[in-house]
């Protein structure tokens, strides 16, 4: 097979002789996954890939979906929307995928979704934050199983209602998700009658944040909301520590992930933020998932690995209900999917294809004797408080 070197073809059925007997002769369900494996978002894409591979392997070991094994067709987009459109087109037209995962950045997803109808393909998002994807840019074949940017931001703002800060500043990555989340945050803060001082955006891939940090310090704010991920997030947090920003300003973030904590070490201690997924979340389903993950990878699952697993479970439930992967049938089935997931109850809404789910707030702490800091759950908000109204990105109360 010519694509073998590049495309990580996952035929886990091969690993298990028992399943092989059942699955032999059945055509695989191909899921295309154009994902950022290189570039500033490469670490997030790598998490998404691991999550998808683990999910596919686990599902195949149980006999696949509809008796057919899952095959992932993974392509690197480099985090560039133009390249993502091309790669998505490749996996659909060349490899015959009718289901899509991946598209690490919201800008990539926003570029691809208008094409879904033409391809007759369904895209299940596991990490796209931009609220517009389930709002003004919603297309019938797009579904979002993950916590969106507005939902993460909402959790932070609900938490802040109990806290007292004189003024807020915000810094975000300069693209769809960063601007969308900060817009929602500003709206929330101002509605709560608090003081929003200003915002600033850094281009994707920024290495030196000194000027941004100076701006935040001089603003007089005592709390700063961060909308960053991947390398940018890690660079910002460690430089903020060097400039002693956390001494003056409480850092709040939309996404707490283990990767940034590992990259910044003790610099992340004290960071408060919403978490889309953490291995520390409560519940038996999550405990079981973490154990399975540990057995496979010898470490705990990170944010987007958990989110990707959940997206896989939502998709699997939809396919099982539809009895088909045909976009038209699958779409109808997915609109009524409800599952008990590692993050609790998840319900896909028919009106805007957003997965209703709980919101979590965590604080990064270092427990005595622990080698590195971990996120500790400090608050949980019910799904109906963090999920915005249908097709909306802002909240009424």
């Amino acid at each position: 097979m010519p694509g073998m070197h590049r495309r990580a073809l996952l035929m886990s059925a091969l690993a298990s002789p028992v399943v092989l007997r059942h699955a032999r002769g059945e055509t695989p369900i191909k899921i295309g996954m154009p994902v950022a494996l290189t570039g500033p978002a490469g670490e997030i894409g790598a998490q998404m890939r691991r999550g998808a591979e683990f999910w596919a392997k686990h599902t195949n070991a149980k006999g696949g979906l509809l008796g057919r094994p899952i095959e992932l067709v993974i392509q690197d987009t480099g985090g560039d929307p133009a390249s993502c459109v091309r790669k998505a087109q490749d996996v659909v037209e060349r490899d015959g995928c009718r289901l899509l995962f991946g598209m690490t950045l919201s800008s990539e997803a926003l570029a691809v979704v208008p094409k879904l109808a033409e391809w007759n393909a369904v895209f299940m998002s596991s990490d796209n934050g931009d609220g517009r994807l389930t709002g003004s840019s919603l297309v019938p074949n797009f579904f979002r199983a993950n916590t969106s940017g507005p939902m993460g931001t909402r959790a932070v703002s609900l938490y802040l209602r109990q806290a007292q800060f004189k003024g807020f500043y915000a810094i975000g990555m300069d693209y769809a998700w960063g601007r969308n989340s900060i817009g929602v945050f500003k709206d929330e803060i101002q509605k709560a009658g608090q003081n929003f001082i200003g915002d600033v955006y850094s281009p994707i891939g920024t290495k030196d944040f000194s000027t941004y940090i100076a701006k935040i310090r001089q603003s007089g704010a005592d709390a700063c909301f961060i909308v960053m991920q991947g390398d940018d997030n890690a660079a910002f947090l460690s430089q903020a520590k060097q400039y002693r920003l956390p001494d003056k300003v409480q850092l709040l973030t939309e996404i707490v992930d283990l990767n940034s904590i590992a990259a910044t070490g003790d610099a992340s201690i004290g960071l408060i933020g919403s978490s889309r997924y953490s291995f520390t979340f409560p519940g038996a389903a999550n405990a079981e998932f973490v154990e399975m993950w540990k057995k496979e990878y010898k470490t705990v699952p990170d944010t987007f690995e958990g989110e990707q697993w959940q997206a896989g479970q939502v998709l699997a439930a939809g396919i099982a209900a539809a009895g088909s992967i045909d976009a038209e049938k699958l779409r109808v089935a997915l609109e009524h999917v409800e599952i008990d997931s590692i993050k609790g109850h998840v319900k896909i809404r028919a009106c805007d294809h957003q997965g209703e789910q709980q919101g979590f707030m965590v604080k990064v702490v270092k427990k005595e004797g622990a080698a590195k800091p971990t996120p500790e759950l400090i608050a949980t908000f019910p799904a109906d408080r963090v999920t915005p109204g249908c097709g909306k990105m802002t909240y009424d109360s």
């Binding site: 694509g3 929307p81 490749d90 570029a111 979704v113 300069d174």
Partner: protein
Amino acid sequence: MRTTLAVAALLALMPLGLPPYAMTLLTEALIMGLFAMSLDLMVGYARLISFGHAAAYGLGAYTCGNILLHTDIPLPFAVLLSGLFSGTVSIGVAWVCTQATGVSFSMLTLAFAQLLYAVAFKWTDATGASDGLAGIPRRPGPFGTTFFASKIGFYYLTMACLFGGFLFARALVRSPFGAVLRGIRENEAKTLSLGYNTRLYKIAVVAASYMLGGMAGALYAPFAGFANTELLFWLLSGQVLIMVIVGGTGTLVGPILGAAFFLFVQQQLSIYTDSWALFFGVIFIGFVLFAPQGILGLARRGRPTEQHR
């Protein structure tokens, strides 16, 4: 002319036998072919080496993207308008750039393209900044037809643009105007002393080149349904220059073949390795050293009579 018609007929039959994926690749190859051919007008006929031809492509793509997103103008007209707009803007650019010659000219074209790139990053309303313009539709029409909005119809539109552009460019270089261009290429001082205002000629050829390059970009926007700053980036300017050189400069047909060759090799190599550009670099060096006339030169080596036809 007979060869042109034969090739056109062959390309017109392609949709009958090719699967959708191959049609996508072929359409992109024709778009890049038009783009590379437009640069050849400058590089091959007037020795105006542009390092910033992505400016033409990006301008065309953003213009067409905005026209299609915000108006009801039918697709073919949007493409033409975008080409004209790109050509018009380039008159100003050329006026500045032709103040210089040689390497300085190349640097100025690069600087202008990078300037546009920077503007595109900040001008969110028109370009969507780093998110780009998404969901660019193929508007139906003219006269109520939805043909050009379909995959195959769009292919024929691209083909028509390429052949129209080719016939236009060929007429241009075969005219007295083209003779003056070649005069500039061979000896600008002499051409100047013969009484030709060479700078005006250069500005005119840049405008023609940008118009065709803009049309290529304008086709790309509805082809991909998407446009972002990558289309203005120097990397694309470098790639199209490579297509022209590999295909054979000063031939119009060569760069079209060069573009197809570039896309084909990129497609094939990228299946095996992520560092396809490295291997393409070796191929490029090979062409420069051993086949400076490019692919077309290689093809004609066996048929020396063709050269003087």
